[in-house]
Symmetry: C2
Subunit: 329 residues, 2 copies
């Protein structure tokens, strides 16, 4: 049972996370070849996009201001984790189903989490610091023995579940807190609690891994009070969004020895400014928002879009639906 | 069915890998309490050790020069991987069974391997280098996607097998070369080849992990010729013994781009001298022979010794036997 539909690729050159024009042309050609009931158009200017939206059933990309789309049933966001501004009040009020690309990078991001976690567990930041000073010194770095540890994920989404699968052979206790514990439990995570359980879980954790998106609820979710609750031997990783952590409070906690170390891929301001205090801490690893980098990303994005096109035409449920268009995840 | 036996703890203060005197006293007391048929003595000076060896059935530690032990049936080495000098011609000629402590550190060392491997896979050495310069730059570090990779272990002992178990969830192809492929196959390693297969396997590997002990056969096993066979995108890890790698040749290969990066815990001369060229390479991680560091080591050593004491008294096969007292492993 299938219907016909019009699908627009919105290709503003300035929009984030949209591939180059040649890639979009190839995607359009492949979609046309695969789905004869799908009309595929590419629009580049806001004017053209606004016009095409008047009768589009589905669209990929970032909606321009002033959009009006009476028939729009499906909007595919180009990001794994669209920023707060993507979810406007107009979008929340519209019946359109929004999907994101959250599955596309899970393995890369979860591998980055594991690289941070094992590096911190084996003291690599301290040794990297000594390496720059040509110092061969033992006893400078504490060891975190994962088999005896509790790892706490804040946010039990795809990244946390994939990281938990990687982590399982070490045998730690793996727990999470999540805004929707009832739908995110299971897999390699031993227990998922509600987010209101965060402050009860923090003092029990040997490693805390922040994976949550930036929402009004998560902004500044970890600050002075939360870092003070952690074990002084615990390590902290932020792989989600920089705005969820009060970075100055984290630096204070690290300098005061309230935490043993940190691995950070995201920051409240990116790029991280050169004069920030955090650059020189000996127990911190900094990477420049690259956890999602890895091979095959454009192909995986296309596969996700093509699968959702097939589902749209077949009347099947779409994949990677944003459950709450106000919260944005 | 049990017999009686005399077991000596050789506790020369200068011997490597022997715990503090108080620890040995506690071990002796615990062994006496557990095994009423075991006579346990501690000897500290060479003179005392030589005297006690005249009627000892078993001993833990390092034999002094000029030893003579007509009744010795079991010698427990205090190291996971005793150095070449431990296995003297006299020891090889004696019927005593030598055991080592190779199981005791496997999880710690394999975790260190994984910390190096994931750090290299995600470009952390490059970012650590940039961090010291307060540079927030993307695109400086290649990504090694483990799911599409072949990981080659040189030496398929306990460390390699444990690392392979940790590595399995990423889904790489895992192979090894080993001097005894027939007895080291299986587990999480997909295939173990003979050491004569090394040069055929090197060009196929995306990561090469050196885990072999230092023996006459393994000294300088990897040098200019072998590094030239590796992929320019491959990473190299040495977690075994420094003398198995010609370090100058490795630096040349890294500087020439014949390899993408390295993680090294052991060096041909330790401590690594401050003026060595390798300290400043941006794609290298250096740790000061600490892969075995972790909690519970003294307890694990004791448990291994106590288990072998039980086996000796019960006439059961000992654990962690050194199969070849000339090669030393």
């Amino acid at each position: 049972m299938s219907s016909t539909a019009k699908f627009m690729l919105m290709a503003q050159p300035s929009a984030p996370a949209i591939p180059h024009a040649e890639v979009l042309e190839r995607w359009a050609a492949e979609l046309r070849a695969e789905f004869e009931d799908l009309e595929v158009v590419i629009a580049v200017t806001d004017e053209e996009i606004l016009k095409q939206l008047s009768d589009a059933d589905a669209a990929y990309g970032v909606l321009p201001k002033g959009w009006h789309a009476p028939q729009l049933r499906w909007l595919q966001a180009p990001m794994a984790n669209p920023p707060l501004g993507y979810f406007t009040p107009e979008l929340a009020a519209h019946p359109v189903i929004v999907t994101n690309m959250r599955g596309v990078y899970n393995d890369h991001i979860a591998t980055h989490v594991m690289a941070f976690l094992l590096a911190l567990a084996r003291g690599l930041p301290h040794y990297a610091h000594d390496q720059r000073n040509r110092e061969y010194r033992r006893g400078v770095a504490p060891v975190l023995h994962l088999a005896h540890s509790t790892v706490l994920f804040i946010g039990a989404g795809g990244v946390a579940h994939q990281a938990a699968r990687y982590l399982q052979p070490w045998g730690p206790r793996i727990v999470a807190v999540d805004a929707r514990p009832e739908t995110t439990s299971g897999g390699a995570i031993d227990a998922v609690f509600g987010t209101d359980n965060l402050e009860a879980q923090l003092p029990l954790a040997d490693a805390v891994v922040m994976t949550v998106p930036h929402t009004p609820d998560s902004e500044g979710m970890l600050g002075r009070r939360q870092f003070a609750l952690m074990k002084p031997t615990a390590v902290f990783i932020n792989i989600g969004r920089g705005m969820t952590v009060v970075l100055g409070d984290l630096v204070d906690a690290l300098e005061a020895g309230q935490l043993a170390g940190a691995g950070l891929d995201v920051f409240d301001q990116e790029p991280l400014r050169p004069d920030h205090r955090i650059w020189t801490l000996p127990n911190v690893l900094i990477t420049p928002h690259v956890a999602m980098v890895g091979p095959d990303i454009d192909q995986r994005r296309f596969d996700l879009i093509a699968d959702n096109c097939r589902r749209l035409l077949a009347g099947e449920p779409l994949q990677y639906v944003v459950a709450d268009k106000i919260l944005g995840f």
